[in-house]
Symmetry: C2
Subunit: 207 residues, 2 copies
Amino acid sequence: MSPKVSEAYKKEKKIDLLRAAKRVFINKGYTHATMQDVMDESGMSRGGLYSYFNHIDHLFMEVLQFEDQEDILFFEPSDEYPLWTQLTEWLRLQQKNIEGINNSLVRAKAEFFLTSNYARDKENYPYITERYDNIKNAIKGFIQKGIKQGEFQPILDPEHIVLYFISFIDGLMLDTFQLGSQKTDVKVQLTAFQFSLKAMLLPVGEK
Amino acid sequence: MSPKVSEAYKKEKKIDLLRAAKRVFINKGYTHATMQDVMDESGMSRGGLYSYFNHIDHLFMEVLQFEDQEDILFFEPSDEYPLWTQLTEWLRLQQKNIEGINNSLVRAKAEFFLTSNYARDKENYPYITERYDNIKNAIKGFIQKGIKQGEFQPILDPEHIVLYFISFIDGLMLDTFQLGSQKTDVKVQLTAFQFSLKAMLLPVGEK
DNA sequence: ATATTAAACGACATTGGTGTCGTTTTCAAT
DNA sequence: ATTGAAAACGACACCAATGTCGTTTAATAT
């Protein structure tokens, strides 16, 4: 009856595997990563690995969830600083983020979203859509808070600004991954974007 | 000595194959397309196909070149209309373009750029970089012409505006491919983008 | 110590695709 | 018609990766 090891042990082991898998996906991307790679990286045997994850898409999706928790938190508005300041701060952070894109899952994610049948089956796996909605709502909430506080006086529908926001960031990531950060000049693009945002949001107290 | 068929015949045959391949890549993307698919679609045998293209990356790159000729032409400025009018016209065209993204090579291209070793080997295959530079220069030339003619009075460095331009369009395409055009609301995003451009370029005679 | 149980192992059959190569077909020159 | 060249064919050997399953190992309860 009694299991050989504790639940905690299995949880730990699984997290080890996820970490190893993440390293593999960062190095090789999604398409070229194999279960064998994860076995090698983690030291786990074939049968062992398959007892935790029955195929690589499953594994990748678990890595994503493991990762995602952090991302949304970015757009929790704080009351300490003006929202516009928080926004520019966020953009500054993104610069570092995107410049270091080769050590992130960005490439693997893009590949996964483009190629995996799981990712592309919106009916049964609404993951991508939900993800998009989550980040959209986080940013929209942020802007709406700014409106309510009288800090922003947007010229365009906030919803539209948000969509535009996301497209730009996604495009910048994609291009930077492909061409390198000095080619795409991440910093100046983010400056141009900040300029656009200012023209759209008209934050008070900004010249 | 004499070849069995004319040069013209071989050229024709090759174009047939490229067309078939293009259909395959539009339907299946890059990663999931196989030489077998192209054989089926074109009716050509295995050996025959391989005598034209020795592997699928080669085939894809030829499809791209075949396709690319059109793309750059978009940004040949005409003297008939104000450049700003041409720009808004171009954006209007892009809307249709991006909304019909499922019948284009956009997905396959993105996959190829992300995953193919040929695409990612910048040293030996500078194709991507050249492509980016070409489109960049086309748009930059367009803007500079506007400056010279006194039609644009940009607030930011035109180079930066162009980089920003490309990122946004790429991001919009990617997101739209993944989520569908009603989800990303292509039209309003392009409107927002137009607004940004206006704020950056300050076209004369536009309120 | 011993028994029990499931975690971990790794050999194996299977799959899906690749690229080659000897053969067949077909066209055009004679 | 006959013949020679090369285009088109398709069987085949090969490879890389998958997922399974019977066996081994090791932690815990007794």
